[in-house]
Structure formats: structure tokens, C-alpha cells
């Protein structure tokens, strides 16, 4: 199934069309918005966007794993991951349209 894909370009176009700024500034603005979110996560602090969801940085403990190809046991080191939990509203919106 081929569905369309929204990228920074489309977001910049919507911002430009809705708020009347030049498109070139909007590309920069959208980049900066995502950069602000990245900076917050790199700071270790989660981002809570009401009606959308929460991005959080979580610590994963080290665990034993295996190289799937060789079957060799290896230790997967402790690491940090970003997880996203969609808000109730977003989950409801996604399910509303069949």
C-alpha cells in the first residue's frame, strides 16, 4: 500500500500557506522547531505535547544477547533510547477514520 509521506518540506509548506511567511524561512523554522525538541531530549528531558504525545529518553539496562548470525553470546551495553507514547487524543483520532 503506497501512502503519502509527510516530510519537513510539507510541514514548511503548510506553515507558509497558513501563516503567510516566505517558504524559505518556513523550512528553516521547521528545522529549528525539531532541533529544539532534539536539544531537549539530548538534555535528557522528555517532551510532553498535549493532544499529541510524549517523547521520552529512557535508560536501557545492559543485557545478554546473541549475534543472530554466529550465535555468539554478547553483552548489549546499557544505552539510552527515545520512546514516544501517543496521547489518548491522538490514538482516538487515528482510529476514528476507518
Amino acid at each position: 500500500m503506497q501512502t503519502s509521506n509527510v516530510t519537513r518540506k510539507e510541514l514548511a509548506e503548510v506553515v507558509a500557506g497558513k501563516l503567510g511567511y516566505p517558504l524559505s524561512s518556513c523550512s528553516d523554522i521547521v528545522d529549528r522547531l525539531f532541533n529544539a525538541m532534539k536539544a531537549s531530549m539530548l538534555d535528557g528531558s522528555s517532551i510532553k505535547l498535549v493532544h499529541f504525545g510524549t517523547f521520552s529518553v529512557r535508560d536501557k539496562k545492559p543485557r545478554k544477547g546473541r549475534n543472530p548470525r554466529t550465535g555468539k553470546a554478547i553483552t548489549i551495553q546499557e544505552r539510552q533510547i527515545v520512546s514516544f507514547r501517543p496521547s489518548k487524543q491522538l490514538r482516538a483520532r487515528v482510529n476514528r477514520q476507518a
Binding site: N5, M41, V50, G53, Q80
Partner: protein
């Protein structure tokens, strides 16, 4: 960080009033929400991507009572963190 803090960070970064930064932030989030509601995916280079995953119906149990219940098919937005961000988050401790 919550939404108003994000708006404030953007307002300072691009030197516009809070109200304008709020309009921008809300437009971006609304556009993303609408795209996901239409079942479209979102891909932001260096940040991550969102896809809608379809889950079929299955028989689950109420964890409290142990009673069997039928879980209807559902869709959930799923976020996959981008390579850049994943690597940076991991390095940055």
C-alpha cells in the same frame, strides 16, 4: 519540556513573539496529527518517523479479573527514532 516551553525556545531562537511561535508550533503539530489520522506516515530527517501500525483483533484478558475479552482491531501511531538522534542520545550521557 512541555508545549509552552517548546514554543518559548522557538520564539527565542527565531526572535518572534511567543504568540507567533505558538501559531507555528501548533500548525506543525496539527498537520502531523491530521496526516496520521489519514493513515499517512511522517518522516523527519535526523529526528525520526511516524507510521501507523495496524493491529488485528485478538483475544486478550482483563488483567484484573482474568476474564477473556475480545480486543477489536486497532491502529496505533508508532515512532521510530532517526539514526542521528538515536546515536546522539546514546553518546550524550
Amino acid at each position: 519540556m512541555n508545549k509552552s516551553e517548546l514554543i518559548e525556545a522557538l520564539a527565542q531562537d527565531i526572535a518572534v513573539p511567543h504568540r507567533e511561535a505558538a501559531a507555528i508550533t501548533n500548525t506543525v503539530i496539527d498537520t502531523m496529527t491530521e496526516a496520521l489520522a489519514r493513515g499517512e506516515s511522517i518522516e523527519i530527517r535526523g529526528f525520526g518517523s511516524f507510521v501507523i501500525k495496524n493491529y488485528g483483533s485478538y483475544e486478550g484478558r482483563n488483567p484484573k479479573t482474568g476474564k477473556k475479552i475480545k480486543v477489536s482491531p486497532k491502529k496505533l501511531p508508532f515512532f521510530k527514532v532517526g539514526k542521528d538522534l538515536r546515536e546522539q542520545v546514546n553518546k550524550n550521557r
